[in-house]
């Protein structure tokens, strides 16, 4: 009898365990409807030094942008909010495309104005991400504001900043918040940074 019970327990564990990184379950996604495509005024430009910042990461570390200077190109990916439709597949997509980033000597830094516990739960639901996820919660949206991508609602835009190893902004896409940035454009722009 004990063996039967153990077998059921094992089957249950197998059934519950995700085979690999999965998307956030549909029932946990909050649909805000179509939003104003952009709602902020950019404060930085291509060719400028990227404003430095230090933010807490989901894993408990603090990440400083300048720490990648001379080491990695940085794809700074602002997304509006945890547990929302587009964001919840954009970053898992960057899991799938990890080798494309690494081939271009790049790290992704994911940023939202959510607090760390929310980001923790969200990224756990995704099955984990290979890149740091940073909380711009307090002072609220300060980094998004420094870059000029803080919306009037308190969330950030869906925006991509590509920053080279010298810390210079080389590409900006403040994207329509309702749609995903094209991965192809990001890879093409990273390719331009190769010596």
């Amino acid at each position: 009898m004990h063996r039967i019970a153990m077998a059921f327990a094992l089957l249950a564990a197998l059934a519950a365990a995700p085979a690999e990184a999965g998307p956030v379950p549909p029932e946990l996604i909050y649909h805000a409807g179509d939003l104003k495509p952009t709602d902020s005024v950019l404060k930085v430009a291509v060719g400028q030094q990227a404003p430095d910042f230090t933010l807490p990461a989901v894993n408990g570390d603090h990440v400083t942008l300048a720490s990648y200077r001379g080491l990695k190109n940085v794809v700074l990916s602002f997304v509006p909010a945890a547990f929302t439709p587009v964001c919840s597949d954009q970053w898992p997509g960057y899991n799938f495309a990890r080798d494309l980033f690494e081939q271009n000597d790049a790290i992704v830094l994911g940023v939202s104005a959510d607090n760390t516990p929310s980001q923790y739960a969200w990224t756990k639901e995704m099955g984990g991400l290979w890149f740091p996820v940073l909380s711009d919660f307090w002072p609220h949206g300060a980094v998004a504001s420094a870059y000029g991508v803080l919306r009037s609602s308190g969330t950030s835009e869906r925006a991509i900043f590509i920053i080279d190893k010298a810390g210079v902004i080389r590409f900006i896409d403040v994207h329509d918040i309702n749609t995903r940035p094209d991965l192809g454009v990001i890879v093409r722009e990273l390719g331009k940074l190769k010596p």
Binding site: P25, P26, D89
Partner: protein, 190 residues
Amino acid sequence: MSRILPLLIAFVLACVPAGARASGQGQDPHLATVSDLELSGPVAKPAAAYLGLAGGDAGFRLSQIKADFLLVEVFSMYCPYCQAEAKNVNVLYGLLQKSPAAARVKMLGIGAGNTPFEVEFFRDKYGVPFPLFPDAEFACHKSLNGPGTPYFMLLKADGAGAFTVAYSHMGAFGDPGAFLDTVLAKAGLR
């Protein structure tokens, strides 16, 4: 038995979310018919030869494909379930090609919300042997009432530019051979 019961309940509960997560965001629209979807080019030579199209940069409509039935997969590069199912779908295509129904049933994929780059990346990553086309603006996906992905449809042309949905399935399909049997049975080719 009293000790087993809680474990049985736990097992059943654990299975429910696993099944519910078999596809990405969206519901099965259970469509009876599908309009003559327009897909964007370019159409590579091997795809053109397989589908009986002229090829080149121009797009095309489903009705231009030379086949009695179309087996369409709606997928997304961003959908982990589609990624997980990709190898199975390749096996399905291989089995279809070896079957007597190969000339009558043609397979293609539509990348919902995927740009040409994203579709090509998906194709390269999994060595997808059948034609895939981008649907960057979700035009086809919206026309299909936004199904979760992966979503499989067996379409039968009605001869007047529309298609009857002979069979549809949302999420992973399990054994490719058994799924092909089902598809061919629904097509009346078994």
